[in-house]
Structure formats: structure tokens, C-alpha cells
Assembly symmetry: D2
């Protein structure tokens, strides 16, 4: 299987904006087996008490994994999440973006696995940690 040339950060960002119109995630960096994304936090992402909604953080982790994966295998619209395991560790700041840093652990022919640490922007404490798997369609890159 020949995989396409690795896409640029701008190509991935354009694809994410088009495919996930609901997401507010911004692509910050795409590197070898890695990516960093940012999710702005506003009133829509908060629950009473100033807590960032869990699904917002899960969505940010999912996008970070997807961006890192696209950086490796090219723009593959049909890659789908098959599992996501999230641990919520600390209350994130209500007035800062969530930053997601993904490290891919494996990109196989049919399955990719990566981990994501989520931070409140400007802090080094992990607020949530996720491990996810993506199924890669057989036709990708051919």
C-alpha cells in the first residue's frame, strides 16, 4: 500500500474545518506521529459552576488524534474512531482554551492508536488524558 504524501498543517486544518463543522478546534501543530490542537472555551462549553463539559474535552481529544493521524496517513475522510478512553484528572480553567497534545503510539495498516494529554492553556498540569483508536479504511492511500 502506498500512502499519499504527508499533508501540510494548512491542508489538515482545512479538512477538519470542512468535515467537523461543529468543532471549534484549531490545529496548532502537526509533527511526526504527533499533533497539537486548541479548543477555545466560552459560555457554550461550560456547565453551571464553571466546569468545562466532559464531551467538549472528549471531542478535543478525538480531534487531536485525528489530526495526528491525518498527518501520517494523508487526508483520509473515512477513518473512524473505534474507541476512546478518557480520564478526567483536574478541573480545567474556565477562561482558558483547552490544548490537546497527541502522541501516536502505532499507525498500522488498519488500526492506529494514540494518547492525548489535555491542558488548560498556559499550564503544565494534565487536566484530562485520553487513549483512542482509529480504524483506517483499507482503500486509504491506494
Amino acid at each position: 500500500m502506498t500512502r499519499p504524501a504527508k499533508p501540510s498543517k494548512a491542508e489538515i486544518a482545512a479538512f477538519i474545518a470542512e468535515s467537523f463543522q461543529q468543532t471549534k478546534c484549531i490545529v496548532d501543530e502537526v509533527g511526526p506521529m504527533s499533533a497539537t490542537i486548541r479548543h477555545p472555551i466560552g459560555i457554550d462549553e461550560l456547565r453551571p459552576g464553571g466546569t468545562i463539559s466532559g464531551p467538549v474535552m472528549m471531542a478535543a481529544a478525538d480531534v487531536a488524534l485525528y489530526v495526528a493521524l491525518l498527518g501520517e496517513i494523508g487526508i483520509v475522510p473515512l477513518a473512524v474512531t473505534t474507541s476512546l478512553n478518557v480520564n478526567f484528572l483536574r478541573k480545567p480553567a474556565a477562561d482558558r482554551s483547552i490544548v490537546g497534545v497527541c502522541r501516536l503510539l502505532k499507525v498500522g495498516k488498519s488500526l492506529a492508536v494514540g494518547e492525548v494529554s489535555l491542558y488548560s492553556e498556559g499550564s503544565g498540569d494534565v487536566v484530562a488524558h485520553a487513549v483512542g483508536t482509529y480504524a483506517i479504511p483499507k482503500t486509504s492511500g491506494s
Copy 2:
């Protein structure tokens, strides 16, 4: 620790509507160590290709767990999700609600664990399965 009287389905539904203003989830049933919720699916929940967004299903699983837990421990606003592990199994129908059926496995003093099967309304196939844990604040029920 004395826990409060178990709340009614209507009380839980009112609390969910107030606390999770972003959620569209409807409380269908609350039973012993269990709950059933429903999440209507519309254009906002779909990605290109007619796939229901993963975070929508994770949010539905999270609410199902929370509703079942409230049914056991009473209206405890500060219970927070500490982990959620989701496996995505089949493509759900794009034109049907997602139904989440939660079974609590344990409700301890400080931690509750449950599992949720998600279905497309009217079908018996599990489209996603989640296991989640909730931390119960020490003051609950006192």
C-alpha cells in the same frame, strides 16, 4: 451516611435540563441501578456522510450514567465523571434517536461505576458501548 430519598424521574429530568443546558437528552426511565435516556438526532449531530458525531454518543452515555446515579444517590450536583471508556461498534442510523441504557455496576461511598449500551431507536444492535466512573462528593446525602 444517610442518603436522601430517591428522586422521581421528573425531578431528575428537571435537574438535568437545568444543569446541562447544552444537552438534548430526554430521561425515559429511571429504575433500580439503571436508567434509559434518549438523544434526538438532527443536523447538528451529524458529520458529512450521515455519521453521528462521536462526542454526541459519548455525551449521551455520560448523561445515562449520571441519570442512573442520581436515581440511586439523589440529586447531587457535584458528582463528576472521572473516566469514560467508549467503544464504537456500528454506524448508527442518521434519522433515529440514540437510546442509552445504563446499568450501574457499583455505587460506593466515593465512586460509582456503570456501563451503557447505546442503540439506534427501534433496533436491538448496540452501536456503542461505554463504561464510566463517577466520583461522588463526600458531602452527598449528609
Copy 3:
């Protein structure tokens, strides 16, 4: 892909005994998308304090999944566990077997997912709960 005839409980038990010579698991039942196994508990499975070692319970969950899967796809030696997520819920009895009840959630062409509830024999309380995925080799059943 044509899959082989479903094997009998005795065939699966013989295969498990041969392939997992380290396991003490006994196959109790194999049903549609399900299986029940039992792991005897003795001094080798206990840690100081009379706690059953976590890896013993993880191994029991893994075997329960494998037995249920073999019941569906036939004797496939190369199916391998790709993930296992275990929650430990209660202290199991130190003097009773661990019983694992598996329900398969999906058996696809390349991936199977199931959940396992572990009990102390004779009790209805779940002592641990696992969700696992198995990769099914492409040549299975052909």
C-alpha cells in the same frame, strides 16, 4: 467469507487447555454471543491480605472473551487481544472461584468486542468488569 461450523464446548475447552497451558480456567458454557468460564482460586492467586491478584482477574476476563469468540468464529488460533479495559469493583472472596460471564457486543470481520462481568462463585455482585477487543485474522474461516 465463510466461517466454519461452530465448535462444541468440548472442542473449545480442549483448544484452550492446549493453547493457554498457564491458564487454570474451566469452560462452563458457550452460547450464542456468550460464554461462562470459571477460574479456581488457591494460594497462587492470592496476595497478602487475601486479595485475588488483579492479573488473575484480567486473565479470566480475557479467556472468557476468547471462549465466547471461538464459539462464534470457530477455532481460530491467531485471534489476539488488542485491548482490555478492566474496572475492579469489590474485593472478591478469597476462597471461591472467579466466574466470568461474557457477552459479545459485536463480531465483525476483523474486530470483535465484548464485555465480561466477573463474580465470586455463588454471589450476584460484580467484583470486576471488563471490556475487550479481539483482532480476528483475515484468513479465519476461509
Copy 4:
């Protein structure tokens, strides 16, 4: 809550050897919020085909987490694993030790969470990755 002085690597190794008499794990390093352990691989750890048994890798991950945690909170015999999520990524070498590198993500008052990357000794490829949580008994350190 005052926690005891941090124990030395030798103290932790002695405690592990005593408490987990079944384990073959060797403590290699204990650092701030981290630890490295090694599990020798021999005939007892292999399944037919030269695969290292999944439960052996799960046990190694569990010990790595426990060692790192003891390095932070002191020798606390009653800390127990509450969850372990493992992804198996590559076939490990059958003739090399498994090395587990743990990074703790959070050590709270009642719960600790960490992640572990497992390698075949001498290789930089992650063969399995685990995330685990430990419950810390309330009396610890007091």
C-alpha cells in the same frame, strides 16, 4: 495529611518482592512521578507461537504504576488498582525482558492515575500501553 518521606528504590523493591511474591518484576528506577520496571521473559510467560501472554504484560504495567505511586506516597500496602486499560500494539520479542516505563499523571488524596509504555528491552517501539488508576486508602501517610 502528611505523607511519609519518599522511600528509596531499595525499600520499594523489597516491599514489592514481599507483597507480590508471584511477580518476577525488577525495579529499575524510581523518579519523580515516574518509575521503570523490568519483567524477565521465559517459557512461563510465552504462549504457543512465542507470544508473550497478555496478562504478563498487564501485570508488568500494574507493577510499574504501583512502584511509581509508592515512590510518591510512601510504602502504602493498601493502595489497590481500581482500573487498568491496556492496548496491545505490537508483538513483543519472545527472548527479551519487558520494560515498563510509568509516568504518573495525577496523585490526588484518594486517587492516582498514570500511564505506562511497555517495550521489549533494547527497542524503542511501544508494544503495549496502559492507563491505570489506584485508590489510595484514607489512612495513608497519617
